[in-house]
Symmetry: C2
Subunit: 170 residues, 2 copies
DNA sequence: GGTACCGTACTCGGATAAGCAATGTCCGAGTTCGTTGGG
DNA sequence: CCCAACGAACTCGGACATTGCTTATCCGAGTACGGTACC
């Protein structure tokens, strides 16, 4: 069982966008540079986040990606499902019906497979934890232990309020 | 994120062995036939269960596999980890340190990555549910909804107490 | 001077290869049982 | 008749192909901006 590493990338990217806190689109190339990631591949995951409605994309010059919702309304589960798919880890193939199961009456299979039931409840517990935490929560925790991080992010993307040469600095 | 389908196989096989409830070894080929599974591949997973100490194997004629512990002491987590590995789903690659993270002081990285912390707690919740349920619990649930299943299993493996031609029936 | 048009540069978006782990298969080492020959 | 040695069959155990999915990359469609020609 292994989660796609794109989930980790997506979470860090969304955290970075949450730090910027505005609606200026950020191109994928700059987002990739912010964490030293391969730009072409990150683009793929950004599209998945866009399709899931977590990011809004804008083509053309001055285009890029912005958060589609406030960070408080984006849970870690949203990100994980957007990138890794919403299917649970365990998929019951009903092998209880095969082999010796074929000689059992149909009423034995009316209820759900007991093994599957426990596995699904474990999956639900996993999702429940992820749904409880939002990107804003992560931002809060990091700001507590590393207050400098938010400033570094804003400076990297020319969002420093102290600099007057912001609009046309490229 | 996808769990190996071998986990499902292993759970059903262990459930079948729990129904037999004795110490007579059962060869892999018969276990495979009981659920219509490819024998050669099932053998691979049985070896994993054996290495993990959940099954004991015995070579030679009249050899096979037996439960190494009573079903009450085998949790679903034991089976999942034996077959799919004990590594968690999320693996933090510390990308917070790369890119813009390089310009942050070292003290920012003393604490664990906040994203990783939440993901690990979700994994812990998943494991906790699986650790709470044993093979014996599964057997109890199935016996409740499908009481015929245990008998079919015992008959398939010549464990029917009513038949006198048990010892030398082959 | 103002306005409309055009070319350019930059962006996302999806279609297209490469690598690797999970899946699936096979044959050899080891052990037990039945048989056979001898005492 | 009893015992010991031998051969054969059956089992697990690990080494060897193959498939599918994750990872990785590229180029094309579309858009906004800047410059230029015209009114």
């Amino acid at each position: 069982m292994k989660l796609s590493e794109g989930v980790e990338w997506g979470l860090h990217i969304l955290l970075t966008l949450a730090w910027l806190g505005d609606q200026e689109p950020v191109p994928a190339a700059k987002l990739a540079a912010s964490h030293d990631l391969p730009a072409a591949y990150l683009n793929k995951h950004l599209q998945a986040l866009s399709r899931a409605g977590l990011l809004t994309s804008q083509p053309g010059p001055r285009g890029g990606f912005t958060l589609a919702r406030p960070p408080e309304q984006i849970s870690l589960l949203d990100v994980a499902e957007a990138i890794d798919g919403s299917q649970g880890a365990f998929r019951c193939s009903e092998i209880r019906r095969r082999g010796m199961g074929e000689s059992l009456p149909a009423r034995c299979f009316e209820g759900p497979c007991a093994i599957n039931a426990v596995m699904q409840s474990a999956d639900a517990a996993w999702r429940e934890v992820l749904a409880r935490h939002s990107i804003a929560d992560i931002r809060g925790t990091v700001d507590e232990h590393a207050p400098e991080a938010a400033g570094v992010a804003r400076r990297l993307f020319d969002r420093d309020p102290g600099s007057a040469s912001r609009s046309r600095s490229r």
